[in-house]
Symmetry: none
Amino acid sequence: MKKSDKHQKILNAAIKVFGQKGFFNARISDIAKEADVADGTIYLYFNNKYDILLTLFEEEIGKLIVEIKAAISQKTDQREMLYVFALHHLRLVIEKKELAEVLQMELRQSGESIKEYRLNKFADYVNIISEIIHTGQENNIFRRDLQAGIIKRAFFGALDEMSRLWILNPNHTYTLEESAEEISDIFLNGIVAD
Amino acid sequence: MKKSDKHQKILNAAIKVFGQKGFFNARISDIAKEADVADGTIYLYFNNKYDILLTLFEEEIGKLIVEIKAAISQKTDQREMLYVFALHHLRLVIEKKELAEVLQMELRQSGESIKEYRLNKFADYVNIISEIIHTGQENNIFRRDLQAGIIKRAFFGALDEMSRLWILNPNHTYTLEESAEEISDIFLNGIVAD
Amino acid sequence: MKKSDKHQKILNAAIKVFGQKGFFNARISDIAKEADVADGTIYLYFNNKYDILLTLFEEEIGKLIVEIKAAISQKTDQREMLYVFALHHLRLVIEKKELAEVLQMELRQSGESIKEYRLNKFADYVNIISEIIHTGQENNIFRRDLQAGIIKRAFFGALDEMSRLWILNPNHTYTLEESAEEISDIFLNGIVAD
Amino acid sequence: MKKSDKHQKILNAAIKVFGQKGFFNARISDIAKEADVADGTIYLYFNNKYDILLTLFEEEIGKLIVEIKAAISQKTDQREMLYVFALHHLRLVIEKKELAEVLQMELRQSGESIKEYRLNKFADYVNIISEIIHTGQENNIFRRDLQAGIIKRAFFGALDEMSRLWILNPNHTYTLEESAEEISDIFLNGIVAD
DNA sequence: GATGAATGAGACTTCATTCAT
DNA sequence: TATGAATGAAGTCTCATTCAT
């Protein structure tokens, strides 16, 4: 499909440029150059600069959700699921470094519309965790005296902070696996029932 | 009026404006208006817009470090210390909502100098955690098979993500105390030895 | 419209505006209005305000050098050449009054880069005189006890001061020809050998 | 006299600062710092920045006129007078380098009021030459077929251009004396009768 | 659809000038 | 008189967006 070709080409360029310079420091012409199209062409596919960011969030996070759900669905034990989520999430951060950078940085930006989006697509992603937790609690695998919403945030925040280290400091002190394992370990130890 | 008076007045205004609109969307004139000074006056106290942000990081985080260290120093058990850190951190987020917002958002920005600062003052703040962990490991209170650096990030990330909820969503679903308790609980359960 | 078209259009506007108001009193918006383009357009062709002045020096003086060399090359006697230089120089001042004004005023400005430029393009122009003098001295037409460098400056200075009169006082007291003739006369009388 | 003390102190500072940075690049605070007074104090002695420059022209050129007239008055032969003028003028340029720089640069600036001043005080200075020429012509020492106005400008222009060399290029290629002599030589040779 | 030159609103920053002390 | 902190008008420059080709 021709049209979506250029749509994605621009989006990929935007991921790269936003990731490197941040949304506000990135110029439309940077993205255009990276995507190898004219500045004006971008406006045939997106309404404005901000729309690129929003579309990027929506579509790219959508893909991540699909991917990570596929990985999790291969497990049945909620403890394993949590570990798989951690592993997969951190792997994404390494594999799609620039996208991760954009999501980390720009998702924290203020601005009403971003906040709304956060509560939509991004929330869907993070809610994968709370679903696991919830099911785990129902199955008496996880402690029921803890609130799923708090666990969800704590677990995601832990992974997210770990990612931040890698994004800022490319020469990793910790490996992917040991990070995923230790973090999962702490949480599982902390939240398993009995 | 003492010089330091206006310095702080502008900084407070900047905290408020940056917190509300973000660094890039904030105008110098917004800060000036909020501080009730002329635009030009700002440049008597700061070199440029960016310098305001940097000074803000340095000075305000410095104050937080002093405060939180004072709170922790009243405890002797590292488990209690972690809880106090969590409680105090979240309390700061609520009490100094706008400062927390600035720190959360802008500290994630890219830009080399920010990154450097991050690795300085902000790192000092977070390293309070790893010091506690480390001492706890030496005292055989905490598991030694986990790396202090990972625990530090996981714990701080958990609190930070919790804060994000409150910043974005002012009507708190969870109370300060239950949040601090549950997060500490998970971690302490997860990391205590034996 | 060719790119070079607008480049020259802006340069011509700059000559006019700089000539009338001086470099520092001239506004970019003045030049833009005179050139009938938007303010921003100027920055598609020049890096900054100062770059306009520098380019102006370089390119316009370059043209003058070509013109005056062509005029001189038609003479064989160095005495005639000096006269032709004088005549041509003063004619340029009248014909390109605004350019002359810019060159007179702004070339005197301090600032390192201007000084360097002065020593380049502008020096090339003035050195046309010293080349004539030098050849004249070799041919024993001009006195060899005088230093070509001093004669060059004296002759150019004389013409330049004459120009100043016209630039400041548009209603000429002296005609072009009599000025060129008398000045050449004085110098030729003063420097011819024997 | 107290008042004139500070008046002159500021003026001297202005000469230095204008000479180094040029009128437009000089800041009132630069002058204040150089004069060791507060910014506001300057406005007790001068109406505005421009007034400093104008006063500077008026008063300092006035002094130069007095000095140079005194030197000339010791000679009776107009040929000697011309040489003395040249010698004295160039000596001033070296001794009062910064003042010379200001006069050279800023006197060329456009702006109506400067132009008027030029035609006043500065003209008085230059007219010392034409008076000599005129008297010389009356005494049949100088050729009467040349117009005094043109000789005046040519002679002054020659000296002025020579000065420019020294101002821009501090390591003098030519000595003061040889410059004054050669220039006077050329002109006297060129304009003496018969 | 694609281009990219042109636009012009708006931001940061400077600095001459003022005025309360 | 003297100060110097404060002012705010105004200028340079950037860059998202448009539109004629």
